[in-house]
């Protein structure tokens, strides 16, 4: 039988030599925890006929468990705290613990359990661990940041840098201009020490020049000096303006592309990531890029030019002394990198403790009523005292490190200067060098060590910037899951018939949330969807809206598969009112007309009236021009719901998907919302996840969903008479309300 790759030979031999062995190798995997709880390997091997658990002993591998697949009822991966257990349930209802694993392998064994159980029942082995493997870098194995495939450790900096520089192409002229200006600035910076040399050697040294000529030369040289300083400062202003404009333009372009890409990505992208993490890419990562492009990169270029230019000058003045001044550089670099690393750690501690202190203060002050109600002022003072002390310690440690770092760097650079004075002076005394040349040399030295030291740390900034760039590019490179087919059709006038035919779907491929689900809804029908939490109600909504594509089966609208319908046509046909009402930061009018920006003001008002929102909107000082605030925060819950209903009414969809809010509002508002909903759902095909008894009573049919399947279907009264799942769900709702 063929053996899978990467399975150690002793493991394969142990399976082959087992008396019960037979059939093709299907799969093998090892855990990271042994049965005794220590870290180590134990293997699960699946063949055509059986399942084996193998333990590695000192000199051998032994089969510790053997389970014929035809005795297997199910395989479960029970995830616990920090780890989990894989166990098999036999047909005799005996549970057999197979393997233990740490949290690192929880997801893997979740998939493995599903795949092996399915194989035991159907004979088809299908396991896809790519989604889990994508959480780890394929090169170094390090865990990647949630929702990202960028490994900062293995990043191909060159490739990313090239890609980043591709954004510079439209701004070639400005970039070339900037580099030229920086070059001129560098040259202007190198001029004063040379002029100083000339003043000393050609003006101040007596024997060389006659009286009035000396005066003229002095005036000219000082004017040149002044000119060089003035030019340098003017060009610095100019280069700052160019680099500011350039950096901002580049990040503008990148930010625009990122946001555009995000808008076109499917919902599944956002499900797998925290909103904060995605926002961080748009804001924080692009900001990081911005500060790198505007500040760090131009300064870095300037430092490189300085090091090269001044290094060349120093070499020309005296190659002998230059060899000496290179001696402190390794120490300078070492101090820079080592102490910087320690400083970085100290800063991390400092910020961490400051954060904890702020959290304590915030906690205590926000909760001051509770503190006073329970008379815990003393305890809060002690808590603050501890954090305050920790913060002080971290601050002192940080300042002490800085107190060492700056003088240490200064001492190393001074040592270079002292070497130059000594060796150079000997050369001047011997007549091999003029005094002016020596002063010129010393003047250049300060401008040499500074950039060298800066460049030792610039790699950190570069590395961080490229990591940010790659995380941004990751979004640009992500393809949406839901793609419009080339021959997609426009539905035109929609009647509103919906049909789900043997639909199977799971957010995780091996854990279907909806399984073989079929439902036919006639145009104009109101269907109430009921079921326990996690039964699949919201998933049904998501599939009809085509936020996700089905894995098996079809969803049809007016007989057309929704995968063949144009996205904009589908969007016009289906209106959605979600449980958590979301309003954008704009005016009330803008929110109501969000789906149809071309609506007239009268249409907006009419929609608001139908949603029982017009009266409260008009009562605002700014009426329909009232800004609702971030996420509609300035409106109450009931007001937000009604604005959201008005938005759906204005869109005038034939099909309505409604997820009833469960949050309670006052009776009057509740009545208003109910009325608004009735007007909204009239003459429309409506699918509502219902929580209100009144909604359920008025529905044409109620569909009870249980574990992704259609459990019961009928009108409210008939289902109540059946005393089945629906009956108890309604009863439970009433009991818990009391």
């Amino acid at each position: 039988m063929a053996a899978p790759l990467e399975v150690p030979q002793p493991v394969l031999n142990a399976v082959r030599s087992h008396p019960g062995c037979g059939g093709e190798f299907q799969f093998a995997i090892h855990t990271d925890v042994r049965s005794d709880g220590s870290f180590g390997e134990e293997w699960l091997v699946v063949t055509a006929g059986a399942l084996y658990i193998l333990q590695r002993l000192e000199d051998s591998v032994e089969v510790s468990r053997y389970i014929p697949l035809n005795t297997l009822e199910s395989l479960k991966a029970e995830t616990m705290v920090g780890g989990g257990v894989l166990y098999a349930m036999t047909k005799e209802q005996t549970a057999i613990e197979l393997l233990r694993y740490s949290g690192s392998q929880a997801k893997v064994f979740g998939e493995v359990a599903g795949a092996v159980e399915k194989y035991a029942k159907t004979g088809n082995f299908d396991l896809d661990l790519s989604a889990i493997e994508q959480q780890f870098c394929p090169k170094c194995g390090r865990r990647l940041t949630e929702g990202s495939r960028v490994c900062p450790n293995c990043l191909d900096h060159g490739r990313t840098f090239k890609r980043l520089m591709a954004y510079v192409r439209p701004y070639r002229a400005q970039t070339v201009l900037l580099v030229c200006v920086l070059t001129v600035i560098t040259a202007a910076q190198m001029l004063p020490p040379y002029v100083t040399k000339m003043i000393i050697d050609d003006v101040l040294t007596p024997a060389t020049t006659r009286g009035h000529l000396r005066q003229m030369m002095l005036t000219a040289l000082v004017l040149i000096l002044a000119g060089a300083y003035l030019l340098r400062h003017l060009l610095t202003i100019f280069s700052g303006r160019i680099s500011g404009w350039l950096g901002n333009s580049l990040t503008y372009d990148i930010r625009r592309e990122v946001f555009r890409s995000l808008q076109h990505l499917s919902l599944s992208y956002f499900d797998g990531r925290q909103t904060g993490a995605v926002m961080s890419r748009v804001n924080h990562d692009t900001q990081h890029l911005h500060s790198f492009l505007v500040n760090v990169l131009p300064f870095g270029i300037h430092c490189i030019l300085m090091v090269l230019g001044i290094g060349a000058i120093l070499f020309v003045i005296s190659w002998k002394i230059t060899l000496f001044i290179l001696m402190p550089i390794p120490l300078l670099v070492w101090i820079g990198r080592t102490v910087w690393q320690q400083l970085h750690t100290s800063y991390a501690r400092y910020f961490e403790r400051r954060s904890r202190l702020n959290a304590t203060v915030g906690d205590s002050l926000w909760g001051i009523r509770v503190v006073k109600a329970f008379s815990q002022e003393g305890r809060e003072i002690d808590r603050f005292g501890e954090k305050n002390l920790d913060f002080r310690e971290a601050g002192v440690a940080l300042e002490q490190k800085w107190a060492f770092y700056m003088p240490a760097i200064s001492f190393v650079t001074m040592s270079g200067t002292m070497i130059v004075w000594y060796v150079g002076s000997l050369d001047v005394i011997a007549g091999g060098m003029t005094l002016g040349a020596l002063v010129w040399y010393v003047g250049n030295l300060a401008m040499f060590y500074g950039p060298v030291q800066t460049l030792t740390n610039i790699t950190n900034y570069l590395s961080n910037a490229l990591t940010s760039a790659e995380r941004v590019f990751e979004i640009l490179d992500t393809e949406p899951d839901i793609v419009e087919s080339e021959d997609a059709v426009d539905l035109g006038e929609v009647e509103g018939n919906i049909e789900m035919q043997h639909v199977t779907f799971g957010y995780n491929r091996f854990q279907p949330v909806i399984e073989d689900f079929s439902l036919k809804i006639e145009a104009g029908e109101t269907i109430g969807l009921v079921g326990r939490s996690g039964s699949g109600k919201s998933t049904i909504m998501n599939l009809i809206c085509r936020f996700y594509d089905v894995q098996e089966g079809r969803v049809l609208i007016d007989g057309v598969d929704i995968r063949s319908i144009r996205k904009d046509s589908l969007g016009r046909s289906i209106g959605v009112v979600l449980q958590e009402t979301f309003l954008f930061d704009g005016t009330v009018a803008e929110n109501i007309s969000y789906g149809r920006p071309e609506s007239t003001l009268l249409e907006i008002i009419q929609s608001a009236k139908a949603a029982n929102a017009h009266d409260f909107i008009v009562s605002f000082p700014d009426g329909y021009d009232t800004r609702v605030g971030e996420r509609g925060g300035k409106l109450s819950l009931g007001e937000r719901q009604r604005v959201s209903i008005a938005r759906a009414i204005l869109n005038d969809p034939r099909i309505l998907i409604l997820d009833e809010a469960t949050s309670s509002v006052d009776t009057e508002t509740e009545k208003q919302i109910q009325q608004a909903l009735e007007r909204l759902t009239r003459d429309r095909t409506t699918l509502v996840i219902a929580h209100r008894l009144s909604t359920l009573r008025n529905a044409d049919r109620i569909v009870v969903v249980h574990e992704g399947k259609l459990a019961e279907c009928g009108r409210h009264d008939e289902l109540m008479r059946q005393h089945g799942l629906y009956y108890w769900l309604i009863t439970a709702q009433e009991v818990f309300k009391e």
Partner: protein
């Protein structure tokens, strides 16, 4: 399956109608835990009530690992609380400890080889009571927790848990490494 779901909802309704919500503290002398062939622990209370497939759960996993142990039935309803694990008979105690050790996979750090900051994560290379382990911690503010008594609790990127019971008693090198994050 639908009938089972209906029965479950019915049970929760009945339970909601009950008025007694006080915690039931079990007498350690009157309970016994054993493991039959099924592989799941069973609990016998007062020699007559037998609960199968019992879950054993800590109420205070971080601060009181051996106190206030909750025994839960197969429907995840609490059977009762045990105040102290040590009050059980030896066999029952061993089974309970075994189940708790499986449920709470926490490794005790005995030495630290290195702690490095790397690209926003803190990378630990440590020796534990289970063997050597290298792991990443992200969001250190949330995942490196200082517990009362100086104990440190660390959760890595995979949800694996590590405990440093007494940082001050660790070897000098380990303490030097810990300084980077304390």
């Amino acid at each position: 399956m639908v009938q089972a779901a209906a029965a479950e909802v019915q049970a929760s309704v009945m339970s909601a109608r009950q008025t007694d919500v006080s915690a039931r503290v079990l007498d350690p002398l009157s309970i016994r835990i054993f493991k039959p062939d099924s592989g799941f622990p069973n609990l016998i209370v007062h020699d007559h009530a037998c609960y199968t497939r019992v879950k054993i759960v800590r109420c205070f996993p971080l601060s009181q690992a051996e106190n206030f142990i909750s025994f839960r039935d197969s429907e995840n309803r609490e059977i009762g609380l045990l105040e102290n694990l040590h009050d059980l008979d030896e066999d029952s105690r061993n089974i309970a400890k075994e189940e708790l050790e499986k449920r709470y996979f926490v490794s005790e750090v005995t030495d630290i080889y290195s702690i490095r900051h790397l690209h926003g994560a803190v990378v630990f290379d440590v020796e534990t009571n289970r063997g050597r382990r290298v792991f990443d911690v992200h969001d250190r503010h949330r995942n490196i927790v200082h517990l009362p008594g100086g104990r440190l609790f660390v959760v890595d990127g995979d949800g694996c848990q590590y405990s440093i019971s007494d940082p001050s008693s660790m070897p000098t090198r380990a303490r030097g490494q810990l300084y980077k994050i304390l």
